[in-house]
Amino acid sequence: MTLNSMQKNGLLLGLFALVSTALVLGVEAVTEDAIAEQKRTQTLASLNEIIPPELHDNDLYHSCGLLSDNALSEQPVPIYRGYLNGKPSALAAEAVAPNGYSGKIRLLVAIKPDGEVLGVRTLQHQETPGLGDKIEKQKSDWIRSFAGKRLTGEDDERWAVQRDGGMFDQFTGATITPRAVVGAVKSATWYLQQNSTQLFQDSLPQCNSASQGESHE
């Protein structure tokens, strides 16, 4: 009798789990395209902000190529290449800061071929609202402070938050987040700077793999 009621409860629980999962999967299927579209629009908007229209005349979003180089990241990294009158004019890469206060911070870093930073934008993060989220353009101008900066070497000491003796502000009450962002931007900038000629020449695989969540055709 006990076994019976246990079986009944187990089955019922399983049934609920099945229905819940089906519901979530259903909603996910419905929203998948819209979410990918939102991500795409956001990346594109950020891209156009840091690479102004007068610096390129090609379609940035479709210039995207997936770069697999363990020196930059273990995951394939989307690289965007801007050209003006057929000449390389801007190079952007998605960078990931793995050491944020809570989880990874996805960034977009763009430089000119000569190494000057065009700009940085935060694409996705989970930092504490009111503290670490000042890395968003909407919350603070901090992320703009990268524009125009140059990196003179792989261990350029100015590329750190002020508390560590560098030139970038930290936020009141939050040092870990800006430190992580500065570190990630620094290594991405260094990589792009060192490999820019190569990156403009390479033909990279297209960025529309499903893993990027950007297949919407």
Binding site: N9, L12, L13, Q42, P129, L131, E136, T172
Partner: protein, 229 residues
Amino acid sequence: MSEFKALTKQGLWENNPALVQLLGLCPLLAVTASVTNALGLGLATLFVLMGSNITVSLVRQWVPQEIRIPVFVMVIATFVTIIQLLMNAYVYQLYQTLGIFIPLIVTNCAIIGRAEAYASKNKWHHAAIDGLMMGLGFAAVLVVLGGIREVLGNGTLFDGAELLLGEWAKQLRIELFSLDYPLLLAILPPGAFIGMGFIIAIKNRIDAKRAQIQSTEKTVTRARVTAES
């Protein structure tokens, strides 16, 4: 109708999930650094609370006592995930602002508390009203606490409201005073605890005052009755 009135009173004041039941304090204390975040999480919680209350009430006949808690948890988790996906797809700006707090709604004990204490024992439309009122009560406390902390910590109100409500809400932003050094205590979690403590104290004080007035009124009426008879 009287049930509606009773539920309203319970949810908003007498049995307020945040002030009296002291449930869901984790998200409450975490997000209330500004009014905008508080309002956003308040609304999301409200929807989840109503959805889970209605669902729990509808399935209550088929759920045996022994497995009701896992079933409630599943119902709530499903609602939260669905709301998260929908927000991600259709209100991306807001989703970015509230990102990590949406999953936190699952851990809000106010929701499972209402499922267990009310929805599993009552008709679905009553459960819906209970969810609405409890949700409103919770959201109201969030907004008040968010307001206090934002004013003290930032000198503003409704900063960033356009992320939640659209472009027009930029006009809502009020700059009360500008601070060179923000009162960090108000923004950090201890500030949330202290602010919350004050709000609860004020509520208790009001209740005490009302009880006092009521008891004096009672004695007066009683005196009159004795005088007449």
